[in-house]
Subunit: 185 residues, 2 copies
């Protein structure tokens, strides 16, 4: 019997187990991955996001954000993202590469309705995120559905590193049906 990290299907399944748990629970690293994008002027950027949905087939993730946030301008300029998390309990680093689509309006009204009241406050800060303020608290938060949007990430690549007694690294691609291959760590 192999351990999950000793086979390519075992690693691939573990990634999706983490992502699925991340979309549902707060106590796994995949809940708050780091989203990397490229700014309109060509700088890499990274920030914590909350993973809201994970579907293995076809491989797709969802993250919510404010239409006025910096990352929307970045994604409009470069509709590509990397997502990264390190799960210490498994000694597992997961790196994802995805194309991104920004969806707002009636299509995502169901996601808006399902959010708890506290979460709604993240969409609708006045003035918009990144605006210079005279004082730290010179802003208001009022939920505004027209500011709510979904980043839909369609995965192209998954790279995993398991740092056990031995180090194992595998690379999976949508183009090969996620069969995967071992690569040098």
């Amino acid at each position: 019997m192999s351990e999950w990290f000793e086979t390519l299907p075992g690693l691939h399944e573990q990634v999706w187990q983490q992502l699925t748990q991340g979309a549902a629970r707060r106590d796994v690293a995949a809940r708050q991955p780091t989203l990397a994008t490229i700014s309109p002027d060509g700088w890499p950027e990274a920030r914590t996001v909350v993973l809201r949905r994970a579907v293995a087939d076809p491989a797709m993730l969802e993250v919510y954000t404010d239409t006025q946030s910096d990352k929307i301008a970045s994604i409009v300029a470069h509709p590509r993202a990397a997502l990264h998390f390190w799960e210490p309990a498994l000694a597992l680093q997961v790196r994802l590469q995805a194309t991104v689509e920004v969806i707002s309006g009636p299509t995502v009204a169901d996601r808006w309705r399902e959010l708890p009241d506290g979460a709604l406050l993240s969409y609708g800060t006045t003035p918009p995120p990144g605006t210079t303020l005279p004082h730290a608290l010179d802003y208001t938060k009022t939920p505004d559905q027209s500011r709510f949007c979904v980043l839909q990430l369609t995965l192209g690549h998954i790279d995993v590193v398991h740092l056990g007694t031995d180090h194992r690294r595998a690379s999976f691609a949508a183009t090969d049906g996620w069969t995967g291959k071992w690569v040098s760590p």
Copy 2:
């Protein structure tokens, strides 16, 4: 008496305290930030790195890597990086923007000599990182000083978010002497 997160100098100092501790200790989030870069073909990338050195003035960080790693090709193509960490104990997200210089050879021989034996194994994997392998463990790790290099990050921007009872966000730039300003979160 203000709390550290209530003033711009307090936040700026806290960032450097975290970075300095990160370079020295294992038990802070700044020890293992996420480094985001842009691949030669224009995709954002992110991975965990170990922070090795932090100097506040002039604002500079160091990370070590293998000259054959993917990130070197990325940095040669786009010598820009973002560094990100979230320190749960402080409810503090730190995002850094930096230009990157890759230094190898005699200039960094002192860093090589100071590394513990176990760490040396990270520089010199055969075949090089990312090479396809027939089996997971078909690689060897032999320390090779000629594969050791230092990423020297010269900071241009620091963006911090403190998620306390109130949310505060501040933006600092090298061009204004790191005075900083409040921005909408």
